[in-house]
Amino acid sequence: MLKATSISKSFGVVRALRGVDLAVDAGEIRALLGSNGAGKSTLMKIIAGAENPDAGTLELGGQPVTFTSTAQAVDAGIAAVYQELSLVPGLTVAENIMLGRWSKVRRTGGTVIDSARTRTDAAAALELLGEDLPLGALVGELSVGQQQLVEIAKALSQDPRLLILDEPTSALSKGEADRLIALTRGLGSRGIAILYVSHRMDEIARVADSITVMRDGRVVTTMAVGSADVSTVASLMIGEERERAASGPFNEPDDQKRLEVEGLTRQGAFEDVDLTVRRGEILGIAGLLGSGRTELLRAIFGRDPVERGSVTVDGVRMGRPVERTMIKNKVGLTPEDRKTQGVILGMPIATNLTLAAFSRIARGGLIEHRKDRSLSALTSEQLGVKAASLDDEVITLSGGNQQKVVIGKWLAAGSEILLLDEPTRGIDVHAKQQVYDIIRSLAAQGHAIVFVSSELEELFEVCHTIAVMNHGRIVHRGPAADTDLSQTLALAMKEQSADDR
């Protein structure tokens, strides 16, 4: 059905794909696995026509094909559903399914959309899916799970021979995920080839026929789903040479508890989370996309509500955490999305650095210029922010330097308990090393750090303790030195059964 041969693709100096071969038969459901940066996304984009390969060929049904746009790929019978849904909330289910391909009729005065015909077309797509959704409902009023179904129906309405599903269940509840799995099987039995990206092993075992594991831009292996267990797949994803972490942290933590989280719960996001971070400790939280890591950090910081449980900072129990109280108690959060939540791109670097430090640079609401300047200068020097001038806007900085500004904001504010959500996302290798060093030396100075990352290797490189989050629960917690990298990944990927905890 689909045959990709020696596909290679580089972005600048980064070699994303190095000669990938992949063949999927009609009606076959192939799970695609790999760590961040293994090349899955690039491969899918090339198949879906969103990127052009540097080398290699694609064949579809025995015919060689080249796509210069996603529209061409769709015409050839390849449809993709990505994690970020591309639906219009203000249009109906039917209009979304047929988006841009509405049937039109000519009336006096101009051409209008034939809504009856659009509904029939959409209904046919839903029929294929075997799902019953209200065609006239606005998509914005549906649950995320239902929206996902609309997106799949939209893909199916294009009559694909190959369907790409990118982590389709990461935002879904258990029930919704089960339905989606059943439905995917149904599509497979109709002869549609499916590429299914996911890391939830239990799910993969139920949905897929075969598994392809990628690592460092190559296909490591392809096997039948029955012959793969979680730990085998995990060690294939990680690779033997990286099994043991390199340097580790600089110091050993004290016994003094700085942050204690007990029984923290918000249904559907995280449940019964217990965590302790000691003085000088770096706690790494591993987990898949949608495992509740970001939600947990935001709730600890007081940005999002909690239903049960407590947060204790330096022995003081925070009633209901609120950002400003947390900041006063020396807690800081660097958010997952740096650009939209961490920095103010259009503001000078200096102003960004002292944004959370008003109590240090101002008295009675008046900013003391010299204190302001010296604090921002000191902080940027401490972190090695590379900029021509601190008066430049943050938007002129590279990603790594922007991240330093976000971390610097908390250092300037005097925060000693740092919640870092994916602090190395989207920054280059060199900047990553700098961020690791910053984190390690902050811990050595007695700060307590929670480090959330999707990249297990870096957690093992930096952290004292590793906690694994899976479906909103902490399923494992132990010293990094005693924890095995692939075992940790397996824990994160494993589906939780009811008796499992």
Binding site: E323, D391, Q434
Partner: protein
């Protein structure tokens, strides 16, 4: 950038182009607010001095300053609102209500004038705060909230006066809006004072910095522990207060509480802020730019009157100027984003 500052060889190589880009950003801002606008203003003044009779007379200059004060005092508050990413289109109606209420309180109800002024200022601040509260609490776009007030406040002003002006016969009170110190109109002094106060607020206070942060990125501001909610209410309350104050000034100048004044004032105020380079997208803007914008729009209006331009054509021209200013503002923001 010095070599010892950079920790890594990789960093030194990419340092230079960024420095260049940032210098260009700087130059662009420098050009517009400290060179472009003053030049435009000077060119306009020179042109009018030559073409318009009586433009370059002391009397006319002070006329301009007086008119500028009624726009400008509110425009400084509006600058904060727009920097924070919001808008307030109710200021004209708020001025009218302030003026009308002053007449009702001082004349119809016979309150002492100073007490009536205090009441008016309190009323105007309260309506502003209400708009800010609704904006912050229910996340209703400020355009909609103040559109409602735009209609409601004007209605209130007409309601309490039956649509007629109420004469305030008090010569001492007239000093506020029409008096002079030496040859300088008193409102012009108020304008300068307002400029200095708001320049200070925007540059030297945590409140001012919070306003910029909210406009630049509200989520980041909140995650930095800034008082987003309170600040949003405050900026609207301040703008309301200023509108009420201008209502009092106008009542003084016209010697009457008048519910029909200041129609379309919101246009001049917002236009001045935008011409002054404040970004409608929020996060950027200066009081200095607004000050120049206020002068520019007042000189323009004054000049068109002196030149005898058809009053209807004046409106068309004013609209064209604002459109041009918005385009310039948009292009600048886009260029900055790209660099």
């Amino acid at each position: 950038m010095t070599a010892e500052k950079s920790l890594s060889p990789a960093g030194t190589s990419d340092g230079d182009p960024r420095a260049g880009a940032s210098r260009r950003t700087w130059m662009r801002r420098l050009r517009f607010e400290t060179i472009g606008l003053p030049v435009a203003l000077v060119v306009l003044c020179v042109f009018l001095s030559v073409t318009a009779p009586n433009f370059a007379t002391i009397n006319n200059v002070f006329n301009i300053l007086q008119s500028a004060s009624f726009i400008g005092i509110i425009a400084f508050g509006m600058t904060l609102v727009i920097i924070a990413g919001d808008i307030d289109i109710s200021v004209g109606s708020a001025v009218a209500l302030g003026s009308a209420l002053l007449g009702v309180l001082a004349v119809n109800l016979g309150l002492p004038l100073w007490l009536a002024v205090v009441f008016v200022l309190a009323e105007a601040t309260a309506f502003g705060a209400l708009a800010g509260f609704i904006r912050a609490r229910f996340r209703v776009p400020s355009f909609i909230v103040t559109l409602a007030l735009f209609s409601a406040l004007r209605g209130l002003a007409l309601l309490i006066t039956n649509g007629f002006p109420i004469g305030i016969p008090d010569p001492a009170f007239q000093f506020l809006g029409a008096g002079r110190i030496g040859i300088v109109p008193f409102p012009a002094i108020l304008l300068i004072a307002a400029f200095l106060i708001f320049w200070f607020i925007s540059r030297k206070t945590t409140f001012g910095r919070t306003v910029y942060a909210i406009g630049g990125n509200p989520e980041a501001a909140r995650l930095s522990g800034l008082k987003v909610f309170r600040t949003r209410i405050l900026i609207f309350a301040i703008t309301g207060l200023l509108a009420g104050f201008v209502g009092v000034l106008q009542a003084s100048r016209l010697a009457s509480g008048n519910p029909t004044i200041a129609t379309g004032l919101e246009f001049d105020v917002i236009a001045a802020v935008i011409i002054g380079g404040t970004s409608l997208a929020g996060g950027r803007g200066t009081m200095w730019g607004t000050f120049l914008g206020v002068l520019l729009i007042t000189v323009l209006r004054n000049g068109m009157v002196l030149l005898g331009v058809n009053p209807y054509a004046q409106q068309v021209f004013s609209g064209a100027v604002v459109l041009g200013a918005v385009l310039v503002s948009y292009l600048r923001t886009r260029n900055t984003r790209e660099s």
